[in-house]
Amino acid sequence: MSRTFYYQAVSLSIALGFIAAIILLMGASPIEVISKMGAGAFGTPGQFARVIATLAPLLLCTSGLMFTFTAGLYNLGIEGQIVAGAIATMVPIRVFQDILPAPLVIGLAILAGALGGGLWGLFAGVLNIYGRVNEIFAGLGLNFVADGLALYLIFGPWQKEGVASMSGTEQFKESLWLPTFGNTEASPIAMGLGIAALVLTIVVMRGTHFGLQLRAVGRNLQASYILGIPSVRQLISAFVICGVLAGIAGSLQVLAVFHRLIPSISSNLGFLALLVAMLVGFNTWMILPVSLFFSALNIGSLQLPLNLNLESSLAGVIQGMLVLAVLLGRGLSEVNAFSAVKNQISSLFRKRQTTRKGVEEDEVEG
């Protein structure tokens, strides 16, 4: 535990050093960048509200990814699941917006989003388990399909009156928008859903038979099967649960942020959630602070081009560096890098014979 901590502390400081170096190379001061980004994220209530608006879907997606990660699956299809949720959300809105009362339509829309995302997750699961397609490729493939479907709808059946464009479908009426705090982008309902997903994930992982079985399946599929755990059901459930949560995130993107379907409706939140999930590992309680931090980076960096004439993609660089550093620290603590280096050096002085011992097979068969 403490050893892992040291490795991570060291690699984190290396990462921070790199980030500072990059900023310096771009001709700016790291301190200034940090203060401007902090101001950009938390300076005004409106900016803070945007951080919160990003945080809600990020919490949903990361919570979903906890299920697939725990089951030992790399669900890169989460982007497509967000898009599928967003598309499905549009269906009840288009059908019922003039028939049913607004709150009911919103409820149906979120439900439809969950269903759409869940279905997309199920596709990935079926491809993975029954079709023997690696879940990474199944997910990436389905991402393209979902994006294609969204484009088709935007330029085809759901196109704006007059001219179809990349700006998306017609904005729907304001009564169907999720209510927000004052005049900001932050919605209490979105935030509530995000927190609820997080709490649910923590409870399921820590306290339920399902969570424990999922951990068992993720760590050793074969032993789990032999111990009688219904592994196929567990794996499919993980895909579907992740899809459902990502689908709700897609719903929020439609209902709270864009108020229509646009081509890149996911805003890459799925990939950002993957970074968060990799950063926190299995420490579910770290999801909230890390997600908040990443949301703040995303929003804060938007100020950089205006104030310091820097690229706003710097946020992505920082996020990526941090995740890499933590993964590196984790990896190094497992292989015990110091002793490996020490062995390398001392083996140079030893005879050929002794260095071979690592290669031996560990069996005694006659």
């Binding site: 424990l212 074969q222 006659g366």
Partner: protein
């Protein structure tokens, strides 16, 4: 081309020793293989045959001893060293690349050049194959070949690399009679060309048919070096060299059937086993003897519901379980304890407490961690596991992992299938494990287990089934077993038992 033909090489192993932890796998072994001869290596499970040839072929580094080729000491520490010295090994499971074609496999491992001359390789392959009457299609995928054909391919590949010594490790398991005779005539032809062949086997018949000399190993030591032909009795006595331990298990057999197999046939890519008729009674223990990988594990997995038979029927109690899913077997009270604990039995990264909780039947959605903790503490005390509830299973010693695995088996069970129930345990733990198992038998559980330890099989079985290269004997009462009969059966001679 076979540029090394005519090159003769005498191999001497002098005082080879190799230790794996507590086990002395090779103990001061010396061996001479004359050029142009076929030399047999005979021994039971764990006698040290594989260790010895793996030392010679560079797969295992020796602790002590010298390897001499034609009187000159050579340094062999890697398989590449061995190939360079002209020593090639044909492994029991051919080390090839199933997704690649025959030709690609043939060309793999050629030294040096950046570019491969396909045309020349094809020519060379065809010439070599014709020489030994091996009929292989160069474009066929290796995954579509039989084990015998894969052996042929591997032999051709090794010959094209210029080996003058060929080690054959248990090559006659899982190949057809025609392939066996092709293999034997190829081996004889190579010997007449001056190459040396080392033939590792546990089959008396094959050794007698093929070899010029045989060295018998027991517990890592050379116990005999004989001219062939040689009577089976002599070889068996050398191989086992002792009386077997007497049975010590109390009679626990009951009248009702626990397991019944009818005309079962099981096929993998390596083996086919057929069992005409097997009836196991409640409380009975059946020991499965034979060299590792002769089909014992297949039978255990079939009975556990983890493998489906190609044909035939299987009954647990009176229930026809043929074709039922694994879950049904679990519901029918079948338990399975695999040999590879950390890969199949336990889950790395989870604690004992979490394992016990996993095995506790769910009552509602939530785990009652406090109740399962009590249960875990009770289990740890009852099974004398040296560990705490929060100890991760990979941190336990082998013996304590086995105890944990036993503790996780449900009670009661109708049928218990165990792979190597006491492998790697100290004597005290072995006695304790069998106490637990016999207590289960008294409660009516039937047990099938395999073991590499013949004493364990003799001591704790009611009846014994012997496996040899996929052939399966009738169950034999343990009282009527002698070391000679058991040895011959493990060596593949079943016929004499039907006198």
């Amino acid at each position: 081309m076979s540029h090394h033909f005519g090159f003769r090489m005498k191999i001497e192993l002098q005082n080879i020793s190799k230790r794996f932890g507590a086990v002395q796998a090779s103990d001061n072994v010396s061996l001479v293989v004359e050029a142009g001869s076929i030399h047999g290596l005979l021994g039971e499970n764990g006698a040290g045959k594989s260790t010895l040839v793996k030392v010679l072929s560079g797969f295992i580094s020796r602790d002590a001893g010298v390897v001499l080729l034609d009187g000159q000491p050579v340094e062999i520490w890697t398989p590449a060293d061995a190939i360079a010295a002209g020593i090639g090994m044909l492994h029991q499971d051919p080390l090839d690349f199933p997704p690649l074609s025959v030709l690609d496999n043939f060309m793999v491992g050629r030294p040096g050049k950046l570019l491969i001359n396909r045309h020349q390789a094809i020519k060379e392959f065809r010439q070599l194959a014709a020489q030994f009457n091996f009929n292989l299609d160069i474009n066929e995928l290796v995954s579509n070949l039989t084990v015998g054909e894969r052996q042929q391919l591997e032999i051709l590949r090794l010959l094209s690399l210029g080996v003058s010594t060929l080690i054959l490790d248990e090559p006659t398991t899982g190949i057809s009679a025609a392939q066996k005779s092709a293999l034997f005539s190829a081996a004889k032809k190579l010997a007449t060309q001056g190459k040396s062949i080392i033939f590792v086997s546990h089959k008396l018949e094959d050794v007698n048919e093929l070899c010029d000399r045989v060295t018998v190993l027991r517990q890592g030591q050379v116990v005999g070096d004989l001219e062939i032909p040689c009577p089976d009795e002599t070889l068996v006595e050398l191989m086992f060299g002792r009386e077997l331990a007497p049975p010590i298990k109390p009679r626990t057999r009951q009248a009702e059937l626990a397991l019944k197999l009818e005309n079962v046939s099981l096929t993998t890519d390596r083996l086919t086993i057929n069992i005409r008729d097997l009836e196991v009674y409640k409380g009975e223990v059946i020991g499965l003897a034979g060299l590792e990988g002769s089909g014992q594990q297949l039978l255990l997995r079939l009975c556990a519901g983890l493998l489906q038979a190609a044909s035939g029927r299987i009954y647990i109690g009176n229930e026809d379980m043929t074709g039922q899913p694994y879950q049904q077997y679990l519901n029918a009270g079948v338990g399975y304890s695999p040999a590879d604990r950390l890969r199949e039995g336990l889950i790395q990264g989870l604690s004992i407490h979490e394992h016990v909780s996993l095995r506790t039947p769910p009552r509602g959605w939530f785990i009652d961690w406090r109740a399962t903790l009590q249960k875990t503490l009770h289990t740890i005390a009852l099974f004398k596991i040296r560990g705490k509830p929060q100890t991760k299973v990979e941190r336990l010693s082998g013996g304590n992992q086995q105890r944990t695995q036993l503790a996780l088996l449900p009670t009661p069970l109708n049928l218990l299938l165990m792979e190597h129930p006491t492998r790697g345990l100290d004597i005290e733990s072995v006695l304790w494990v069998w106490q637990q198992l016999i207590a289960r038998c008294e409660g009516g559980t039937a047990i099938l287990f395999n073991s590499a330890d013949l004493d364990e099989i003799m001591q704790y079985s009611d009846r014994v089934i012997v496996f040899s290269g996929g052939a399966v004997s009738e169950p034999i009462d343990v009282e009527s077993l002698t070391v000679e009969r058991l040895g011959q059966m493990i060596g593949g001679k079943f016929e004499r038992n039907h006198q």
